[in-house]
């Protein structure tokens, strides 16, 4: 046996005589590290979760701007011609009229017939037939959509006799809460 071989045997023997605690430590060693498969699974799941989370956040932000917006949100900062009264003869085209609580004047913005129709069609039967009055109205604002032929449509009012005269529109109380579709239609109307 060469010296090198002898030395290696001594090393092997020396390892065999290490402290019991090190031998014990190695025999009971339990790693906290997850297996490669588990780590891959978690990484993949985390990626999916991150994508879903971001999608939800973006989706919520997007939807908030539409679904959670109220007519008040939409019209509060909207500019328009301001008047203190509206006469039938003054309207040659459809217009949107709104008034914020606490204001005496009304804001008027002219719209096209197509835009007018786009809002009208969002007022479904359930909405216009609602019998709940003040309880369901949107606080802080009143809105009317008027056409030159004398028809008055408002998210708050039924499309019914008595609701079709300019002269009367300001005396009606709100009847229904505008739907999300109505709010969105008015938003698009204002942007258009």
């Amino acid at each position: 046996m060469t010296d090198r071989e002898k030395y290696k045997e001594l090393l092997i023997d020396a390892v065999g005589e290490i402290d019991d605690s090190y031998v014990h430590e190695a025999s009971v060693y339990k790693t906290r590290r997850l297996s490669v498969g588990a780590r891959t699974f978690i990484a993949t799941a985390s990626s999916f979760a991150a994508v879903i989370f971001l999608s939800v956040i973006i989706g919520i932000s997007f939807l908030n701007s539409y679904l959670n917006a109220t007519l008040y949100d939409v019209l509060e900062k909207q500019s328009g011609t301001t008047v203190t009264q509206v006469g039938k003869a003054e309207l040659s085209e459809p217009c949107l009229i709104w008034q914020l609580d606490g204001e005496e004047e009304y804001h008027i913005k002219s719209v096209s017939f197509a835009q007018y129709a786009s809002v009208v069609k969002t007022l479904n039967a359930e909405q216009v037939n609602s019998t709940e009055n003040e309880i369901t109205k949107e606080p802080g604002i009143r809105v009317w959509l008027c056409s030159p032929d004398g028809t008055v449509i408002t998210p708050y009012l039924k499309v019914a006799e008595g609701n079709v005269s300019y002269g009367a529109i300001f005396s009606y109380n709100a009847e229904v809460m505008p739907s999300f579709e109505t709010v969105d239609a008015i938003r698009r109307l204002l942007k258009g």
């Binding site: 030395y7 065999g16 290490i18 605690s21 031998v23 590290r33």
Partner: protein, 183 residues
């Protein structure tokens, strides 16, 4: 049964000590022995020799970690048997011995015929300076003589990571031995 209870049986010279040892550690001891010898029959004999050795050592020994204590005995017996038989079979000891070549000085002097005690102390000192994971890896490889793949699976590491770490540990050990005049 707890380790101290089994040790007490040895001290009381109760023959059930062997049976209880076999129940708790028989399989592990066989595995360690077979890793070295690569032979089922020889390994079973080594385990039996281990029980006899334990019977003779206790008393006076009173090990805290009975498993580690027995493992050291069976490993020593298995290595002695391996060296004696000088089998052509490739056992775990062959691979480990080859790896430790890095820790052997290129020119050995007569003084380098070291007492095992000095190397053992240096080894313990070396292990004491390692963090837990590296120490476990070293012990698994060079005490238990587990393969790199076994260690990687057990420690949930890549094989390349284990190989690299072991290589660095061998270099560090060589440096330690040299600094202490043991190489």
């Amino acid at each position: 049964m707890q380790d101290y209870e089994i040790v007490s049986l040895y001290w009381e010279r109760a023959e059930s000590a062997i049976m209880q040892t076999n129940i708790k550690y028989g399989r592990m001891l066989f595995t360690v022995s077979e890793t070295v010898l690569n032979s089922r029959q020889d390994s079973e004999e080594c385990v039996n020799d281990t029980y006899l050795a334990a019977w003779n050592k206790m008393p006076t020994d009173r090990p805290t970690y009975l498993g580690a204590y027995l493992t050291k005995i069976v490993r020593g017996i298995a290595i002695d048997r391996y060296r004696y038989a000088h089998s052509d079979k490739r056992g775990g000891a062959d691979n480990v011995t080859a790896e430790l070549d890095e820790c052997v000085p290129s020119e050995l002097s007569v003084e380098a015929q070291l007492e095992a005690g000095a190397l053992r102390d240096a080894m313990n000192s070396f292990l004491a300076g390692l963090d837990g994971e590296k120490r476990v890896m070293f012990v698994k490889r060079y005490f238990y003589m587990q393969s790199v793949s076994e260690i990687a699976a057990c420690m949930r590491l890549g094989e390349s990571k284990v190989k690299t770490t072991l290589h660095r540990l061998r270099l560090a050990l060589a440096e330690k031995l040299e600094s202490e005049g043991l190489k």
